[in-house]
């Protein structure tokens, strides 16, 4: 499965507790919609590190990299080059 789909399923399953794909759009801001708070962001980082072997540096833990499905996918793809 592509990262995008896996990530969507992970967020839907673990934070929205549903498999209804319409509940989350790729560009929805996690912070603005309240899907993730800073604790949730930490959990997503753990997920990225576990599943994709991405090491997220302190300075990379910012909304520009992590605040939506699209941003995370771009971030992970850039990291894995």
């Amino acid at each position: 499965m592509a990262i995008r789909e896996e990530l969507r399923d992970y967020v839907l399953d673990n934070y929205l507790f549903t498999d209804d794909q319409s509940k989350l759009k790729d560009d929805d801001s996690f912070l603005e919609t309240g899907i993730l708070d800073s604790n949730g962001v930490m959990e997503v980082i753990f997920f990225l590190e576990d599943e994709y072997g991405v090491a997220v540096a302190q300075e990379e833990m910012v909304p520009e990299n992590l605040d939506s499905i699209s941003r995370i996918v771009s971030f992970v793809e850039a990291k894995n080059g």
């Binding site: 507790f17 549903t18 912070l31 800073s38 604790n39 962001v41 302190q58 520009e64």
Partner: protein, 623 residues
């Protein structure tokens, strides 16, 4: 009715009945062990009283009443109530210093009074049924009188899943109400009138007084509040958590019990919740005879259902459960009474939320300032806000409501929004039944009383009128103490102490960001510096790990199964099963997930115990 609440009073029971009235009482004998039987009547048997609690100034009141010609047939505090009522009518309650729920029958006027103490230490519930008024200390005593099971009050559930407690008179059961703290009900000729005789009000009575002057007055007041709370004909102990409040309290108790200070504490096998090191510091300082109970995950899950039977409301944390285990140890060791430090945070400004409010107000003046937001780091050192970009994460939580710092609930909006995430698990059916928001109910009930308060006072008021009576003194206090027939006493909640503190300028409570400044200043000579200066650790207990343990899942999690979730209908079964799966994968670590799990499980348990099993004591014996 009485057989359902014998845990509150296992020592004796008594009844009075006359045309149209019946009073019943289960007694926990603490003062006047031999002749304190209740109900008690006045000289001509026209006034009858049953009451739960203590009148701590009964010795002084009794002496005054004897001087004015009253004859006493007992040495109990109960008898003071009937004679005071004879002299002062309904205003008698204003003379009481104590914790109480009172039912008084005036036969001449065919009038029943129900009264509850000022801050909500002792419970009192009621319902109207077939033109009658039925009341009791716990809801489980009322249910058997009704013809059918009570139903869950979905608005109260919505409130609990927002604030941790229901608002005003509401309880989790439809049609069953609690008499609010500081309230008196008059029931006469079938008409019911309720009025408030005391409210948490602020004044400027002590503005401008020096720290030394205030500290001297406060120490005298706390000393006296403690002294009269040691009045008992049975041994009295104290809870010692290792925090500032219980350390101050035990230092005060020590003045009167130098050679026989008995203290009790609880700790956890899970060291992230444990405060034993600070407890040891204070035990050595005072030389108290101390008993410590260490609590495991299994202890919490094994006692969960029983605790919910006592609490009679959903909870969002397991924290009350260990308090019930602690009172069990107290009772086993022969003690019926403990003094505790509860209330100091509300009265003297100790909670993190008060600091948070000050910082957010300061921040609101310049919302783009990362320097201002960075002050939150003082409050929550684990927050990583060294990166300027991280401001946006902080804003997502603490920034809620930042655009209106003068709003009534400015202090609590971030917290309520977080707790309210638990409502994402509500079923569609429950959501459809909710016609009024929890915050609107809160506003309707409390906005008038809060109109002239500053932001700090508003935050103090909300804590003191909501979480303290609605959760800390009840679910985690009275119900967990009385579960094992132990009475708690709270010197910081003496109304003289509250009224004094409420007349101090807010900066005497929180000096810049130094919480409980004046209390610490007044008591600095009596408590070790290490405890005065320690970082505040809120009391918490393990939540999810208590039920989903390495050695297996607790039986009570059966209530989270699809069958029970669908049958009761409060929650969406698919969402709940996803939460349970997330927990099983070890991924549920956030506060929200923990609160959601305990909230859902406790709601299911309350429905099982009280709606399905009618609150029957035998259900709990069976489990």
């Amino acid at each position: 009715m009485i057989s359902q609440i014998t845990h509150r009073g296992p020592d004796d029971e008594g009844y009075f009945s006359d045309f149209g009235i019946c009073l019943g009482h289960a007694r926990l004998s603490i003062i006047d062990l031999d002749s304190g039987h209740q109900p008690i009547a006045n000289e001509d048997k026209s006034i009858h009283v049953v009451f739960n609690g203590e009148i701590f100034n009964y010795i002084e009141l009794r002496s005054d009443l004897i001087k004015s010609g009253h004859h006493f047939s007992t040495h109990s505090d109960t008898e003071v109530i009937v004679h005071l009522y004879e002299d002062y009518g309904d205003d008698f309650v204003r003379l009481l210093n104590g914790q109480f729920s009172i039912a008084l029958w005036d036969a001449n006027k065919q009038k029943l009074l129900l009264v509850r103490d000022r801050v909500g230490i002792v419970p009192l519930f009621y319902t109207r049924f077939n033109n009658s008024l039925i009341f009791a200390s716990e809801i489980k005593a009322i249910i058997p009188v009704l013809n059918s099971s009570p139903s869950i009050n979905v608005h109260a559930l919505d409130q609990i899943m927002t604030f941790w407690n229901s608002v005003g008179q509401e309880t989790i059961f439809e049609g069953i109400y609690e008499l609010e703290p500081g309230n008196m009900m008059v029931f006469q000729g079938g008409d019911m009138t309720i009025f408030q005789y005391w409210e948490w009000e602020f004044s400027d009575a002590h503005y401008g007084e020096s720290d030394h002057n205030l500290a001297g007055q406060l120490e005298d007041l706390l000393d006296d509040a403690t002294r009269i709370r040691l009045r008992a004909d049975v041994p009295v102990g104290a809870y010692l958590s290792g925090g500032l409040d219980s350390s101050v309290l035990t230092a005060l108790v020590h003045r009167y019990k130098k050679d026989n200070l008995r203290t009790f504490s609880i700790g956890f096998d899970d060291k992230s919740f444990d405060e034993s090191d600070y407890q040891k510091e204070m035990i050595e300082h005072l030389g108290s005879d101390h008993s410590h109970l260490s609590c495991t995950y299994r202890d919490i899950s094994d006692s969960f259902l029983q605790s919910l039977w006592n609490i009679e409301a959903p909870i969002l944390r397991t924290a009350p459960v260990p308090m019930g285990l602690l009172s069990g140890m107290v009772r086993e060791q022969g003690y019926k009474v403990v003094l505790t430090g509860e209330g100091a945070d509300e009265v003297f400004g100790g909670y993190d939320i008060f600091k948070e409010t000050k910082i957010r107000q300061f921040w609101a003046k310049n919302p783009d300032s990362s320097f201002r937001a960075a002050l939150l780091k003082k409050l929550y050192p684990y927050l990583n806000i060294s990166q300027p970009q991280a401001l946006v994460y902080l804003k997502s939580f603490f920034g809620a409501g930042l655009d209106d710092p003068s709003s009534l609930f400015f202090s609590h909006i971030p917290r309520w929004l977080t707790t309210a995430k638990t409502k994402a698990f509500f079923s569609e059916d429950i959501n459809a039944q909710l016609s009024k928001s929890a915050v609107d109910s809160m506003s309707e009930r409390f906005a008038p009383a809060m109109s002239n308060m500053d932001a700090f006072q508003k935050a103090q008021f909300i804590e003191s009128r909501m979480l303290m009576p609605g959760y800390l003194l009840s679910s985690q206090g009275d119900r967990m103490l009385m579960k094992n027939s132990v009475e708690g006493r709270f010197p910081f909640l003496d109304h003289r102490v509250i009224e004094f503190a409420n007349g101090m300028h807010p900066t005497k409570k929180m000096k810049v960001l130094n919480e409980k400044y004046l209390l610490k200043f007044a008591m600095r000579k009596h408590v070790p510096e290490k405890i005065i200066n320690r970082f505040k650790q809120p009391y918490r207990a393990p939540d999810i790990p208590a039920f989903f343990r390495d050695d297996g899942e607790s039986d009570v999690t059966e209530l989270l199964g699809s069958e029970y979730i669908k049958k009761y209908g409060f929650f969406d079964d698919k969402k709940v099963s996803r939460l349970v799966e997330k927990i099983r994968r070890g991924r549920a670590t956030s506060y929200k997930d923990n609160m959601a799990l305990v909230g859902i499980l406790s709601t299911q348990a309350v429905n099982y115990l009280f709606v399905e099993q009618m609150g029957n004591r035998e259900t709990i014996v069976k489990h």
